[in-house]
Amino acid sequence: MANKIPRVPAREQDPKVRATNFEEVCYGYNIEEAKQEASRCLNCKKPRCVEACPVSVKIPNFIHQVLEGDIEGAAHTISLDSSLPAVCGRVCPQESQCEGACILGIKNEPVSIGKLERFVADWSRENNVKFIDKLPSNGKKVAIIGSGPSGLACSSDLAKLGYDVTIFEMLHKAGGVLQYGIPEFRLPKDKVVEHEINNVKALGVKIETDVVVGRTVSIDQLIHEEKFDAIFLGSGAGLPRFMNIPGEQLNGVYSANEFLTRNNLMKAYKKNYDTPIFIGKKVAVIGGGNVAMDAARTALRLGGDVTVVYRRTEKELPARLEEVHHAMQEGIKFNFLTNPTEILGNEKGWVRGLRCIKMKLGEADASGRCRPIPIENSEFDLEVNEVIMSLGTSPNPLIASSTKGLDTNKKGCLIVNEQGQTSRKEIFAGGDAVTGAATVILAMGAGRKAAASIHEMLSTEKN
């Protein structure tokens, strides 16, 4: 029986070594490992993994091709549904999507779908395999706002359908959160991100950086002056949240966004870059999501002694299992059931400590997770000189506030219908700008859905 073969582990950099560098943690599979892992797939008639994938990659098909040694074929299969396979193979929360649905996972370990996807994508890059199947130009123009996962997914689908697509990116590099948010050791920038963006460009997609839509140019200017037939807003959720506790204005307090942007996009970790970054000897990272893990592991690599402070228990950590596991291996400390109440400063206005209160878990709240409740008189001080706040982000209000007739909800998220269409019929939206902070793959799914709706609207429209 195929499912008796144990899951093939992916080789990784030694935790002690990797804690001091920004090289990628996971080495991925070689072809033998990939074939062996592929042999575990039962090739289910009704594949639950495909249903659980936000972009519906034909998983059993590509795995079967890997098993047969047709890696190029596997890459082609994936390319029909995903424009960023090397990214997704690395950063998707597979345990709650494809792998979470894998039938093998009921009794044993699920097929390592993410690592297989990554193998196929890396192999295509190394062997210079490209798929530029696209329909002839249909003469219609679509503007995509934001070059993150949703924008890239939307762009490549539309480009394949023959649309003239331009992405407007406000930063100096394309990729959105793939550039500024996710660190090099998890997602190599030059090797993986740039390459997959170049593949999108190879479909004919234009990318204009340094354009802040809502400031540099308005949505209505794009429609009326630059004659775009439809707009997709994939502007993400870039606004950092703080706790509104005393001491957040002290020197040495960062948002995770700033800390990671300085290091990832602005490459503060590289000596030849001008970007400064402050690293305290003792660093507290507040929060338990993927971004908190990224910030903690980055601070560790830059020389900090890092503690993650999280108000619930290990079980409730919202971060991917693999990230938590890697963080612990690397020597990140965790203070669970702990919540900061104040950041303490020295006479010069720099962080000297973090006052916390112990928490216990109460009843489940609306999110289904147990609500943390402070334990009275349990305050204690952690000695730290840097605090990184990683409490989530909310959508940037710039576009909504500068565009007439665009509805948002109380949280500032754009409101869209089933088709990904906003309150203005020619404007679609998806990704974190709609959902608030979520994952790369959900954003890609939303981008693809919007692309299909835009195509539906523009191809049936009478001219």
């Binding site: 100096h172 950086t209 400031r215 140019v217 966004n257 942007t261 400064p276």
Partner: protein, 284 residues
């Protein structure tokens, strides 16, 4: 890539560059800023827009060659390129929201310190062009460091130059000149101060004594300039605001200047090291 069309030193340490940036020039308004990244290794440096020309599709920036990064900007010559110029960022000045008729009835006093003279220019020009009464006080170390005197004198009723050493104009700080004007009975509806943080703090304090509202423009540390990083957090009226998206202009009376000044020193040790390396490199 953004082409530098001219590079001119206005005084020994202040450099003015005109940049071709069509989208930016089309949408820039007084009070807004932009971000320059010189090259791949460069920081993103926020700079106020000191002029814009919609017809020629250019924007003008002014930098003071005190830090390693601004020195690097000033070294890009006519015909050279900046990797990135992005903007306009931040909100336009409040005056942009007023009708021309409203502006024409107002009396403005602008107080500029050093490099802050540059961003005062488009604002003074905007209201002066619309018929407002405009007085400008410009502060500099000495006669040699006064910048843009000709340009400024064309967009105001009175230009008062102050120098620390008395080598030109009024001998003393801009706050003293402001107080002198107010004591003499000059009435203004609105004041705008742009310059070093300490100068904006004391200009605001002086204005408050005479119930003159004073708007200040905060040049905080920034990375993206669009609200993403939060590096530019300032406390205004007891609330935390982001200078990049909520400002850069705020009511000076509400700004916690001491905190803002302290936050500007976040990278002082690193900057000193960079300047040091930079100077060693230069000595070769």
């Amino acid at each position: 890539m953004f082409k530098v069309l001219s590079n001119e030193f206005l005084n020994p340490v202040i450099c003015q560059q005109v940049i071709k940036a069509p989208r930016l020039a089309k949408s820039a308004q007084p009070g807004q800023f932009l971000i320059v990244r010189v090259d791949e290794e460069g920081e993103r440096i926020p700079l106020t827009i000191s002029d814009y020309d919609r017809e020629n599709e250019t924007v003008t920036i002014v930098t003071q060659t005190i830090g390693a990064s601004s020195l690097k900007i000033s070294e890009v010559q006519k015909g050279g390129f900046f990797s990135d110029v992005v903007g306009p960022l931040g909100n336009p000045s409040d005056m942009v929201k007023l009708s021309d008729d409203e502006i024409s009835k107002k009396r403005y006093i602008f107080v500029a310190g050093g490099l802050g003279t540059a961003p005062v220019y488009p604002q003074a020009k905007y209201v002066h062009d619309r018929g407002a009464y405009v007085d400008i006080i410009v502060g500099a170390k000495n006669a040699e460091t006064v910048i843009l005197e000709d340009k400024m004198s064309k967009v105001c009723n009175n230009l008062y130059i102050c120098t620390d050493d008395g080598s030109k104009g009024f001998h003393g700080l801009v706050t003293k000149k402001l107080e002198e004007l107010l004591v003499a009975g000059n009435k203004y509806d609105m004041g705008v101060a742009i310059g070093p943080m300490i100068m904006m703090k004391f200009t605001t304090i002086t204005a408050q004594k005479y119930n003159l509202p004073m708007t200040v423009s905060l040049n905080m540390l920034m990375v993206d300039g669009t609200g993403m990083c939060g590096a530019c957090r300032v406390t205004v009226g007891g609330k935390v605001r982001f200078a990049c998206v909520d400002g850069p202009e705020f009511d000076g009376a509400l700004v916690d200047f001491d905190e803002a000044m302290r936050r500007l020193t976040m990278y002082k040790p690193q900057e000193e090291e960079a300047d040091h390396i930079c100077k060693i490199g230069r000595g070769k």
